[in-house]
């Protein structure tokens, strides 16, 4: 059947209109159907709903765990605000900053799916900056230390080790505060 608007292309889409119990059908090609639906706003704009997306993802991850044979243990709960993981799954909202720590195992795959990534690389608050810089420095020094040991440069290695110990000491003190 040909499209009833342009009368040129093959009709592939049928609109059914029911007014006062009377049914009329109109057969259109893809292009005319798109113009037609825009004009009468038959299709609402694709409204993106982040909550739906999140709920879908959470369920998908659950399913994945099941397939992988991960046995669901007893309900996990945040040690600080006592939000349970199931409650989070329902609302999509975490309760407090400790939730991120206590649910990390479950959240990491979720964050990876939501953002394509699970590690922050953006801005760092000033208060954390010194600490974070030290952690990054320690990581780098450890790498260097390994290389030095392989090269049997023990004197330099000892110096690097002392530097690491010193930085770790500073961090421990800070954490203890």
């Amino acid at each position: 059947m040909l499209c009833q608007i342009c009368k040129k292309k093959e009709a592939t889409i049928t609109f059914t209109k029911i007014v006062g119990g009377q049914k009329t059908e109109i057969h259109l090609c893809k292009d005319c159907a798109s113009a037609f639906s825009d004009k009468f706003s038959i299709f609402p704009l694709p409204q993106f709903n982040i909550d739906d997306l999140l709920a879908g993802l959470l369920n998908a991850i659950d399913l994945y765990h099941k397939e992988e044979g991960v046995v669901p243990g007893k309900e996990i709960e945040c040690s600080n605000c006592h939000l349970t993981y199931n409650e989070f799954k329902q609302s999509g909202k975490l309760g407090c900053s400790v939730c991120y720590h206590d649910f990390r195992e479950q959240l990491t795959p979720l964050l990876r799916r939501l953002h394509g990534n699970s590690e922050h690389v953006g801005k760092i608050p000033r208060q954390s900056k010194g600490k974070l810089d030290k952690i990054r420095k320690i990581k780098q020094l450890r790498k260097e230390l390994q290389e030095l040991v392989l090269k049997e440069e023990y004197e330099k290695a000892a110096k690097t080790r002392d530097e690491i110990l010193k930085l770790e000491g500073v961090l421990k003190k800070k954490n203890a505060k």
Partner: protein
């Protein structure tokens, strides 16, 4: 911070025009405004939806302390939403100072800080403790990032943010974690809408991690051919990368709109002139007009101004009108609650008055 009574603050707000509507920023014929918001929470206090009343009060008071003496907030006001009527809250939504969610939520101690130019606003105890937003006219996300970053640093001198080395700034919803940053650009795309080119673009950009929303953000309808495009990914990219990517996507949409505008001008100039002047004719003579019809006609006139067809009006007046004609704003201006019929009359009178100035 200015220490003013709620009624004085609202009175001033009613009479003032937000700077971001002035239509003078880069690419203003297509880009109405750019916006960045940062979601921030205070360490050691549950996120607002799970906080106790006393904790919510603490957050609100903390915000008051932050803005009270800081020179950055010298001309700012702080409103407690509990004290506002639903109409007044809705008015703040229509001013783009708070979200619809913030206006309708029943949680106590929700607040809103905003500066005189209405470029900066902070929602207190929304889904996150602080949601800082900055708005400017036209396409200028980089400038906004500079400004909002300073404000964020300033606030951080007085509070400790909930932050983890791994996940970044921690937020109530995992969709905001990391940078906590949502950048968005409000576009006016009448030419693309005329040739039915919008849906294809929307579909394409939603596949690559961007979200399109209506004039008033999440869950609102598109009206007047205005579209808000924003980033969805907040974790694993730096703030600069998020801005850069969003600008690139928008540049693509903008150049499409420009191309179609050019084509329409060379092929159907008379029809465009007719469309713009007809819309102007109705707006300058109608006695009763709904907000949906007004938005549609304002979009057509704005299109005409952008193309140089109508030269005695500027983009600023049209941007401003798109806000003024909203239901709560109209009633605030009238100083009383109006039924829909009276609103439609009030709206028609207001538009006639503004465009014949």
């Amino acid at each position: 911070m200015q220490n003013k009574d709620k009624s004085i603050i609202l009175q001033n707000l009613k009479d003032s025009t937000a700077e971001w509507t002035n239509g003078q920023g880069p690419l203003s014929d297509i880009v109405i405004s750019s916006r960045i918001r940062l979601a921030r929470n205070i360490e050691g206090i549950p996120f607002s939806p799970r906080a106790e009343q006393a904790e919510l009060k603490n957050i609100f008071e903390l915000c008051r302390q932050v803005v009270e003496k800081d020179p950055l907030f010298r001309d700012s006001n702080l409103l407690l939403l509990d004290e506002l009527t639903p109409l007044e809250s809705q008015f703040l939504v229509e001013k783009h100072l708070i979200s619809i969610y913030h206006a309708r939520e029943k949680r106590p101690y929700r607040g809103c800080v905003f500066n005189q130019k209405e470029t900066l606003s902070i929602m207190v105890n929304e889904e996150d403790h602080f949601r800082i937003q900055y708005l400017l006219s036209g396409l200028q996300l980089n400038n906004i990032w500079k400004l909002i970053n300073e404000i964020d640093d300033e606030i951080e001198k007085k509070v400790t943010y909930a932050f983890s080395e791994k996940e970044g700034y921690l937020t109530s919803c995992p969709t905001n974690v990391g940078t906590g940053m949502r950048a968005s650009i409000m576009l006016h795309l009448p030419a693309l809408a005329m040739v039915n080119g919008i849906n294809d673009i929307l579909k394409a950009i939603s596949k690559i991690g961007y979200v399109v929303r209506g004039f008033y953000g999440e869950g609102t309808e598109v009206m007047g051919n205005l579209f808000q495009v924003s980033n969805q990914i907040t974790l694993g990219l730096s703030e600069e990368e998020i801005i850069d990517n969003l600008e690139k996507v928008n540049q693509q949409i903008i150049s499409k709109e420009q191309k179609v505008r050019k084509e329409l001008l060379s092929n159907s100039k008379s029809q465009l002139e007719d469309q713009a002047w007809r819309a102007y004719g109705i707006l300058s003579s109608a006695r009763i007009i709904s907000s949906v019809e007004a938005m549609e006609l304002l979009s057509k006139v704005r299109f005409g101004v952008g193309l140089g067809i109508i030269s005695h009006l500027n983009l600023g007046i049209l941007n401003k009108l798109m806000l003024l004609i909203q239901p709560a704003y109209l009633q605030m201006l009238a100083g009383k609650v109006l039924d829909p019929f009276n609103r439609d009359m009030q709206r028609a009178a207001l538009i006639r008055n503004e465009i014949s100035k």
